[in-house]
């Protein structure tokens, strides 16, 4: 399947990536090549095959619903590009 520039812009928006108009053409070409590689799978009839989501055939392990982690808010928040009074700062969302 070939991808055009407008489709690249659409998926870039979904992925929250900025792709400039100049880049979009090249990106579309590269991704079209990758999709051609991927599309080799389409030649195989898998209608009777069950999907394998995960290599391990096990059920998800559960644990008791108890607090085991320490509160490390300050240490973790020190890593933020901008924070204040225990809050993460981002550009204004609501005027």
């Amino acid at each position: 399947m070939a991808l055009d520039k407008s489709e690249v812009e659409k998926i870039a928006q979904l992925a929250r990536l900025h792709i400039s108009a100049e880049e979009a053409e090249e990106v579309a070409g590269r991704i079209t090549d990758i999709l051609a590689l991927i599309d080799q799978m389409q030649a195989v009839d898998t209608s009777q095959v069950e999907a394998l989501a995960h290599p391990l055939d096990v059920v998800q392990r559960l644990r008791a619903d108890e607090v085991t982690e320490q509160d490390r808010r300050d240490a973790l928040q020190e890593l933020a590009p901008a924070s204040e009074d225990g809050l993460y700062l981002v550009p204004r969302v609501i005027e």
């Binding site: 998926i11 990536l17 990106v27 991704i31 051609a36 799978m41 195989v44 998800q60 973790l76 890593l79």
Partner: protein, 486 residues
């Protein structure tokens, strides 16, 4: 003595022939001498390494005989290390000082191994040549014009050039085994679930697995003894007993059944590598093993399926990098949307963005069944191929890579680069253990032999590799580093 294996260094430490401080200093000196040329390390932790070495010497003086106590190692920069820069080879994390240790790091710290630093890698482990790193490509110690392989290229180059005794890596589609092959060292990917992924920055969560890059199968066993085991912090780590992997290294290979996949000895394999692997196989026959051809009929679909599953999982995993809580943030965002988009576009490199886009596309409305579901069905077929193979043979052996290390810049087209992993990717899709060990030299460059076992047959894979290394000395061959001093 820095060229010795971890097992040999361990013995020398226990006999008191050398101290961990002396050994650590020797590696630090060598890193100082060669790292500029090889670019294997992103971060070198001189002070903390020497402090850990002093502690290790103290522990030994008090009678502690832990095998890796005082042995210097390097961690791939994908593992979180508390208080130490952890970049994952990316600009988006180039200011990230991790607030915690990965379980793998914690376990090695507990074992008394000394961390020399963090090794270079393809950005977010997406690459087969180490050329996608934000910190520049790693050079292959055997020939600086060639790549070391990827994505654990820094770890592989560091081990090959004796900048460390051993190193950790991660393998999502071949990222431990292929660089091990290109650099002439031993690289082992355990079964999926064997080693905790906690604190290992996620690329594709159903495929990623950590493992050792080192100088012998015996060292891989020693490192696996430290790394393997249940971790409550990783819900996909498996609750199975962990054997002592060194205990069965000496087992005889008399009667071992080896399968050679026809599909791994077909078109695309270079003549030199094929001859090297066939010569190596003769060693196994001398040891009493029998060899038969087998089929992995769906192997040719593995790269296609992988380039749906891995990018799809990556696109979800990498959504966390948004410039809010840690890492890079773009300058002067006009609004939140602008901040997300520019942070990610400026912070991620080309290959990472390409894979996020492919993954987003494969998961987007209307394409899920055609791509993601289809790839999961192909994954089942690939797994079944191995299940059938292992009903006939004990291990599957072939080349790790179709050729020796290629030159920098030689594979600029993504699809050509993706096909590099044609022999290794199926093993990740099936979740199996696989090792690459040195099996010869072609044109002065190492070739790797790939040994794959059934689910959780780590001990068997290591045993087979170790027995080969008892008969051969390919794993002892070293690159000449003359004229590369910084």
């Amino acid at each position: 003595m820095i060229e010795q294996t971890a097992a040999e260094l361990s013995a020398a430490l226990s006999r008191g022939e050398v101290s961990s401080v002396e050994l650590t200093q020797a590696y630090l000196d060598r890193i100082g001498k060669y790292n500029e040329a090889l670019n294997a390390f992103i971060t070198v932790c001189e002070e903390s390494a020497l402090a850990q070495a002093r502690q290790a010497d103290d522990r030994r003086a008090r009678g502690d005989a832990s095998p890796l106590l005082g042995v210097p190692l390097a961690h791939k920069d994908i593992f979180c290390t508390e208080g130490v820069l952890t970049t994952c080879g990316s600009k988006i994390l180039n200011n990230f000082i991790s607030p915690y240790d990965a379980t793998v790091v914690e376990r090695f710290n507990g074992s008394g191994a000394v961390m020399l630093g963090k090794t270079n890698m393809d950005e977010f482990a997406m690459g087969s040549s180490n050329e996608t790193s934000f910190f520049g490509p790693v050079r292959n110690p055997w020939d600086r014009e060639r790549v070391p392989g990827g994505s654990s290229g820094g770890s592989a180059a560091a081990v090959a050039a004796d900048l460390c005794a051993m190193a950790t890596g991660t393998d999502t589609g071949g990222s431990i085994r292929q660089p091990a092959a290109f650099c002439g060292i031993t690289g082992f990917k355990p079964s999926y679930g064997r080693v905790s992924r906690w604190g290992m920055i996620a690329f594709a969560s159903s495929l990623d697995q950590a493992g050792p890059l080192c100088k012998s199968a015996e060292d891989a066993a020693l490192m696996s003894n430290v790394m393997a085991g249940l971790d409550p912090k990783d819900s996909t780590s498996i609750d199975l007993p962990v054997p002592d992997y060194t205990a069965s290294l000496g087992d005889s290979l008399e009667g071992l059944k080896i399968g050679l996949p026809r599909q791994h000895f077909a078109e695309g394999l270079s003549a030199g590598v094929e001859q090297g692997i066939r010569d190596a196989l003769a060693e196994f026959e001398k040891l009493g093993a029998t060899i038969k051809e087998i089929d992995l009929p769906n192997n040719h679909l593995s790269v296609s399926a992988y380039y749906v599953v891995a990018p799809a999982e990556a696109s979800a995993n990498l959504s966390r990098f948004d410039g809010v809580r840690y890492g890079y943030r773009c300058e002067d965002p006009v609004d939140l949307e602008d901040m997300y988009k520019r942070t990610r576009s400026e912070g991620f490199g080309e290959e990472v963005k390409r894979r996020i886009l492919v993954g987003t596309y494969a998961l987007s409305a209307g394409y899920y069944d055609a791509y993601y579901r289809k790839a999961q069905k192909i994954r089942r077929l690939i797994k079944q191929d191995f299940v059938e193979a292992f009903s006939e043979v004990d291990v599957v052996i072939g080349p790790t890579s179709p050729h020796t290390a290629f030159t920098l810049g030689a594979k600029s087209d993504p699809v050509t680069m993706y096909l590099e992993d044609i022999y290794t990717i199926a093993v990740n899709l099936a979740g199996l253990p696989g090792i690459s060990i040195p099996a010869g030299l072609v044109g002065g460059l190492p070739i790797g032999m790939h040994i794959v076992g059934s689910d959780f047959a780590e001990a068997k894979v290591l045993n087979v590799a170790h027995q080969f290394q008892q008969q051969t000395d390919w794993h002892r061959r070293k690159p000449a580093l003359n004229g590369e001093e910084a």
